[in-house]
C-alpha cells in the first residue's frame, strides 16, 4: 500500500493527523498552516499596530514558548514591525519555577528577545511556597492566579509596555466557557471569550493570539519545530471547576474533535446573549460576590491534567447555592412587603461590595462590572479593594508572628 500523501502539497508523505480535523499532512505543511491560521487570527482581529511594543507572558511551558516562536516568525515574515519582549513571573515555587525560568532564559537567547522576570516576593511580599505554607494546598491556585494576573500587568507597566499577549489556547478558552456555565457566571462568560481583554480604561491590553489553536496542535508544533520548553505541571492542586471542565473537554474532543472549536464558537455567541440588565434577583442572593474569588478568564489556569477529583471549591458553591435556595422562601416575603426599610438595608451593603467605585451606577445594575482602581495599590479593579489586596490582607493576618 502506498503511503498516504499530504492533503495539501500532495508530494510529501503525510506524517501528521491534524488533531483539529484529522486532515493528513506532512510536517512542513502542518507548520505552515498552523502559522497561517495564527496570522489570520492576528490580521482579522487587528491585534497589533506597527511599532507596537508587546510583552509575551512567558512561563517556559509549551503554550508561551510556541507563542514566542510563532510571533517571532510571523513578525519577520509579515513585517508586523513589533518590538517583542519576554515577560516572566516567578511565583516562587521551588522545583517548578526554578527550572522553567531557566527555559525562559534559554528562549530569550534563542529568539534574541529581551527578558524581564518579576517575582511575587518583590510584588507582594509572599512567594507561593510561603502562601501554601500558610493556607495549605487547597485553594492556593486562586492566590496564584490573581497574583499572576496582576504581576504580568505590573511587569509590563515597569517596562513601559501596554500590550501583553498570553499563550491561552482553544482548549483553555473552551474550558473557561464550560467552567463559567457550570458556575453559572454569565458576566465572566461574556468577558472571557473575547480575544482582547481589558479596554481603553485599563492601562494594559491583553490578548490571546492562540485562542483558536488546539492544545494538541501546539504540542505537535513545538515537537516538530524542536522547541525548547519545560513540561512539568504545577505541583500544587488545580481548581476543582477547571479540573472538572478540563476532563470533560478531553472527553468531548475524543468523541468529536471539532467540539473544542464548537464550544469556543458557542461561548462567543452566548456572550452576546448575556443580558445587560443585571440578573438583579440573583444579586440579592449574593451570587456574584459569594463565589470564591480569583477564577478569572483563564488567568488562573494552571491547567493540570490530574484535576479530575472535584475538590473543595465545588462543594463550597454547592453549599452556597443550597443556602440560597433555602433563603429563597424567606426572601419572597421581604420582597413582597417590598421597599420596606429592612429590604433596602439588606441590599445596600451588597451593592457597595460589588461596585462601590461608581455609586451612580447603583440605580442601574449592570452585569459587566464597572472598572475603577484599587484604593490600596491603584491597580484596575471593579471593586474598592482589588482581589490581590483582599487576598493579601487575609494572608498577612494569618502570617505567623514569629519570623526571623
Amino acid at each position: 500500500m502506498a503511503p498516504a500523501l499530504c492533503a495539501i502539497c500532495k508530494t510529501e508523505r503525510a506524517l501528521i493527523k491534524r488533531p483539529k480535523n484529522h486532515a493528513k499532512l506532512c510536517k512542513g505543511c502542518f507548520i505552515t498552516i498552523f502559522e497561517d491560521e495564527v496570522h489570520h487570527t492576528i490580521a482579522s482581529s487587528q491585534l497589533f499596530f506597527p511599532g507596537e511594543k508587546v510583552a509575551i507572558g512567558a512561563s517556559g511551558g509549551k503554550d508561551s514558548t510556541v507563542l514566542a516562536s510563532v510571533l517571532k516568525t510571523l513578525n519577520e515574515r509579515h513585517g508586523y514591525g513589533l518590538d517583542l519582549v519576554l515577560l516572566s513571573i516567578d511565583e516562587g515555587i521551588k522545583g517548578y519555577r526554578d527550572d522553567s525560568l531557566e527555559t525562559v532564559k534559554r528562549n530569550a537567547a534563542q529568539y534574541d528577545m529581551p527578558l524581564k522576570i518579576v517575582g511575587y516576593d518583590e510584588l507582594y511580599g509572599w512567594t507561593m511556597d510561603q502562601v501554601v505554607e500558610t493556607i495549605g494546598k487547597k485553594g492556593n491556585c486562586t492566590y496564584c492566579g490573581v497574583f499572576r494576573r496582576q504581576a504580568l500587568d505590573r511587569g509590563a507597566k515597569m517596562l513601559g509596555i501596554k500590550h501583553v499577549v498570553t499563550g491561552h489556547n482553544a482548549d483553555d478558552v473552551a474550558e473557561t466557557i464550560l467552567m463559567n456555565l457550570l458556575r453559572g457566571d454569565l458576566s465572566r462568560l461574556s468577558r472571557s471569550t473575547s480575544i482582547v481583554t481589558g479596554d481603553n480604561k485599563s492601562d494594559v491590553k491583553r490578548s490571546k493570539p492562540l485562542k483558536y489553536s488546539y492544545e494538541k496542535e501546539i504540542v505537535l508544533y513545538a515537537h516538530h519545530k524542536k522547541l525548547d520548553y519545560f513540561s512539568t505541571e504545577c505541583i500544587y492542586s488545580p481548581e476543582a471547576f477547571r479540573g472538572s471542565a478540563r476532563a470533560l473537554i478531553k472527553q468531548l474532543e475524543r468523541v468529536r474533535p471539532s467540539a473544542i472549536l464548537d464550544l469556543v464558537r458557542s461561548g462567543e455567541d452566548m456572550a452576546r446573549l448575556v443580558p445587560i440588565e443585571a440578573s438583579s434577583s440573583s444579586d440579592c442572593r449574593g451570587k456574584s460576590d459569594a463565589l470564591p474569588v480569583g477564577l478569572d478568564d483563564g488567568g488562573g489556569g494552571c491547567g493540570s491534567q490530574n484535576g479530575r477529583s472535584p475538590g473543595g471549591e465545588m462543594a463550597v458553591m454547592e453549599k452556597q447555592l443550597r443556602e440560597n435556595e433555602a433563603a429563597e422562601g424567606l426572601e419572597i416575603d421581604i420582597a413582597k412587603v417590598a421597599l420596606g426599610d429592612r429590604a433596602a438595608e439588606r441590599e445596600k451593603p451588597r451593592e457597595l461590595a460589588v461596585r462601590s467605585s461608581n455609586k451612580a451606577s447603583n440605580s442601574k445594575p449592570i452585569t459587566r462590572q464597572v472598572l475603577g482602581n484599587c484604593k490600596r495599590c491603584g491597580y484596575m479593579s471593579s471593586q474598592e479593594i482589588c482581589q490581590a489586596c483582599t487576598l493579601l490582607e487575609g494572608l498577612n493576618k494569618n502570617r505567623p508572628q514569629i519570623q526571623i
Partner: protein, 402 residues
C-alpha cells in the same frame, strides 16, 4: 464522654417531623409523603404558570370574566423514559385533584411517542412495534389521556424542514429506507444523535399543530436541561440555547416544497406554539425515586427497561455521542453537587433570545448572521458551500457536513 454509641433512634422526617424519614431529598432526610409532595409541587407550580399563560389570549373571552371554556390542549412528548412518564403521572394526579374539587378538567392531554425504531429496523413487515405495545399499558393506566405513536419517518414529509438543504431523498424507496440513508450520510455518531433529536422535535411540533394543541410539554428534568445546555454548546449551538432551554412561545415556520426561502405559513393551524418544561426544577434522580418508590403500582413497571448508559464502560469513543458524554458527566455531578446542576439550567435561562427572522433550514433555530460573519473572519474557515450557504446554522452545518 461515653464511648458507647447511643441507640439509633428512627430518623424523623425533617419536613413534617411526624413520619419516619426513609428518603434523602437534597441532603435532607424526609418521608415518602413529603418527598412526593415536593415532586408534585415543583411540577404543578410550572403547570399553574402555564395555565395562566394559556388562559386568555387563546380563548374567545375578553375582560376578566371566568376562564373561557375553550379547550386547552397540551401535547406531551413521551420518550417512554422515567421523566416523561412521571410527568404524565403528575398531570393525571392534577386532573384528579381538579375534578375532586368539582372543577372541569384543566386541559386535554395528548401524549405522543416518536418511535425511532425505523432507524434500526425495517418496519414494513411488522404491524405493531414494541413502542406501540408499551403504549397499551399507558392507555390502560391513564384512560383519560390520548396516547399516540408516530414513527420518526413521518418527519420526512414535514414542511417545517427545508429539505433542499439536505442530501436529496430517494422518494421511490420506502420511508424507513430513506430515513436510514439520510442518517447513514451523516458524518458521525454525534451528528446522527443530533439529527434524531431535531427530527423528533419537528414531529412533536407537527403533532401539536395537527391535534390543535397550543402547547408542547417536554419532560426534561433540571439534570436533562443542564446536559442539553452543555451538549448544545459543545455542538456549536450556543446561540440557539435560549430557544431550547427556556419556556415560551415558538413560531413555527413552513417551507414551501420547492422554494428555498421561508415564507409565512398559509395554513389555518396555529403558527405559534408554547413549549414548556414542567419538570425543570426537579433532578433526574428525584424523578427516578418518585417513579420507583412513590407510585402504586410503581411507574417503573410501565417504563420499558433500557440500558443504563451513565456508567457503562466506554468501548469506543467513536461510537459515543456528545449527549452520552454529558449524561455520564452529570450523573456524577448530580450525585454530589445537585445544586450546581440546577444552577446550570437556571443560568442559561437568563440568556436572552435574539434574532428570529431567518431560521436554519434543518433545526428551525434562528440563524446567527453576525456570529457567522465574525467566525469566518477570525478563522478564515472556508466552510461556505454552494447553495446552502447562509441557510443552515453553524451546528447543523457541522452535523450535516462534518
Amino acid at each position: 464522654m461515653a464511648s458507647e454509641t447511643p441507640p439509633v433512634a428512627p430518623r424523623r422526617c425533617t419536613k413534617c417531623r411526624v413520619q419516619e424519614a426513609t428518603l434523602d431529598s437534597r441532603s435532607q432526610a424526609v418521608c415518602g409523603d413529603c418527598f412526593a409532595k415536593h415532586v408534585s409541587t415543583k411540577c404543578i407550580k410550572q403547570i399553574a404558570t402555564l395555565g395562566k399563560e394559556t388562559r386568555s389570549p387563546l380563548g374567545p373571552s375578553t375582560g376578566t370574566g371566568p376562564p373561557p371554556t375553550a379547550r386547552r390542549g397540551y401535547l406531551l412528548g413521551l420518550s417512554l423514559g422515567v421523566s416523561s412518564t412521571v410527568l404524565v403521572d403528575l398531570l393525571n394526579d392534577n386532573v384528579d385533584f381538579q375534578l375532586s374539587r368539582g372543577r372541569a378538567a384543566p386541559f386535554d392531554l395528548v401524549a405522543v411517542h416518536v418511535d425511532a425504531s425505523p432507524l434500526t429496523t425495517n418496519t414494513q413487515q411488522t404491524t405493531t412495534t414494541a413502542a406501540e405495545e408499551t403504549l397499551e399499558s399507558y392507555r390502560a393506566r391513564y384512560p383519560r389521556f390520548t396516547f399516540l405513536c408516530i414513527p420518526l419517518t413521518s418527519a420526512l414529509t414535514l414542511p417545517t424542514i427545508d429539505w433542499s438543504t439536505l442530501p436529496a431523498l430517494d422518494k421511490t424507496q420506502p420511508a424507513d429506507v430513506q430515513l436510514q440513508s439520510l442518517f447513514a450520510a451523516l458524518p458521525s455518531t454525534t451528528a446522527r444523535a443530533d439529527m434524531q433529536r431535531i427530527l423528533t422535535r419537528h414531529v412533536l411540533i407537527a403533532a401539536a399543530r395537527a391535534h390543535d394543541c397550543s402547547t408542547l410539554l417536554l419532560g426534561h428534568s433540571t439534570t436533562a436541561l443542564a446536559e442539553l445546555t452543555l451538549a448544545e454548546a459543545a455542538k456549536g449551538r450556543g446561540f440557539a440555547l435560549p430557544w431550547q432551554i427556556n419556556d415560551g412561545a415558538y413560531a413555527v415556520v413552513d417551507y414551501p416544497p420547492s422554494s428555498p426561502s421561508p415564507s409565512p405559513s398559509t395554513s389555518t393551524t396555529p403558527t405559534t406554539i408554547l413549549i414548556h418544561h414542567p419538570l425543570r426544577d426537579l433532578l433526574r434522580k428525584e424523578l427516578a425515586t418518585y417513579a420507583s418508590h412513590l407510585t402504586t403500582p410503581p411507574l417503573t413497571d410501565l417504563i420499558p427497561p433500557t440500558a443504563d448508559l451513565s456508567n457503562a464502560p466506554v468501548v469506543s469513543h467513536k461510537d459515543l455521542t456528545i449527549e452520552e458524554v454529558m449524561l455520564r458527566y452529570f450523573a456524577d455531578v448530580e450525585e454530589n453537587y445537585p445544586s450546581v446542576v440546577a444552577n446550570v439550567a437556571r443560568t442559561t435561562g437568563k440568556l436572552v433570545r435574539i434574532g428570529a427572522e431567518a431560521r436554519c433550514g434543518v433545526c428551525s433555530m434562528p440563524l446567527d448572521e453576525q456570529g457567522d460573519e465574525r467566525w469566518r473572519g477570525e478563522l478564515g474557515d472556508p466552510v461556505l458551500r454552494e447553495g446552502v450557504a447562509g441557510r443552515l446554522c453553524y451546528g447543523c452545518e457541522r452535523s450535516t457536513r462534518g
